[in-house]
Symmetry: D2
Subunit: 122 residues, 4 copies
């Protein structure tokens, strides 16, 4: 596998099969799944909350594995959410990146982070 050869549909199929074998679609409402995404995102944050940048550089393999697993959890619930809501992730992503490029033209925002001010997005 690996990211170079794995399609998003492949992940979707795996998540679908996993839920189907356990009869878990009944729990996979959009409301529950977006809560899951947020909960797993918080668990990912726990690994970085009290760390300084240089400590992250020195994460050992065990720590890196924990981080990978938390990211995988977030991704898995994103996939489950997309399955339930019939969202094509690649299309949604493409559409959003197009809007981001319009909102943050490369020349204007060179080295200036677009999200500095939350009021901006309002």
């Amino acid at each position: 596998m690996g990211d170079s050869t794995t399609t998003i549909q492949h992940l979707k199929d795996e998540v679908n099969q996993f839920a189907d074998e356990r009869d878990w679609e009944q729990f996979h409402t959009p409301k529950n799944l977006c809560m899951s995404i947020a909960i797993e995102a918080a668990e990912l944050m726990e690994h970085f909350q009290w760390t300084r940048a240089e400590e992250v550089d020195n994460f050992d393999d065990a720590k890196k594995l924990q981080v990978q697993e938390e990211l995988a959890d977030v991704v898995a619930y994103c996939i489950a959410f997309a399955n339930t809501m019939n969202i094509d992730i690649a299309d949604a992503f493409k559409h959003k990146m197009k809007r981001n490029r319009e909102k943050y033209p490369a020349e204007e925002f060179k080295g200036i982070y677009g999200h500095d001010d939350p009021a901006r997005d309002a």
Copy 2:
């Protein structure tokens, strides 16, 4: 594009190019990016917070598009995080799903949700 033909690496390349053109890698620390994932996950939740299941079924196209865009934001930051931490998402996902299958055998957990009790994962 579409999920059937789009690889994860393709999304990674797009996010990399977007950050590179704007010189934004400097802001893309793991700590900042996992905060971004959590923030976007919360924005996704906002769309479902006060809705009942039947209302979700009746989301109109404008609402569906908003939901897709929020999911795309979560995914984009997951991709950026993976880029920064050099995580192969497909491998991490495969590894985690294997662990999930061991933790929740299909026969034992048929129709019984494995995460009922947060203490379980402790």
Copy 3:
């Protein structure tokens, strides 16, 4: 103690003393503490994520205690955040409730939830 006789300042003093005795103020930056609030809020959500309303009504004492502890964690970090940022919570709360009353007049929003549409706050 109890909510009827406990002032917010009392909670602030307790949190201050706890941090001071451990020399933990150095970790209590606003950025770290708002991450803590979000993380504890997610842990609180874990207890309700897969539950239906009627199950919540039947939480046993052990479960209720877990929920209380998670809420206490969220509150404790809110207090720590207010200590660090020199925020008077009672004043901030009073100010915000005044704005909420203006934004959601009682007659207009009787039985109609004001936050239905996240776009509304934008």
Copy 4:
């Protein structure tokens, strides 16, 4: 008002009255309210996500007011949650701080943050 003279019960009464006048108790299920806490916590994070420590020190009054309002939102939903679940916040807080003092003895954890490793709490 102010934190020195405001009891937690006072905040509870205000939130109760606000919900009652709008007939909003029907929306204030524990599940919905813990989602609200998490969403508001994420909005608070937005203000600190891309900032460095020294920038926080230089927040102007308008920015500080926004931060106060976001914190007030988190607190208000914590209060609403406690109202719905009949939780005495002062008692829950007192109980949790006692456990924290046992878990992190002041001498042992002097200058060493107790939450370094998320695995610790597992």
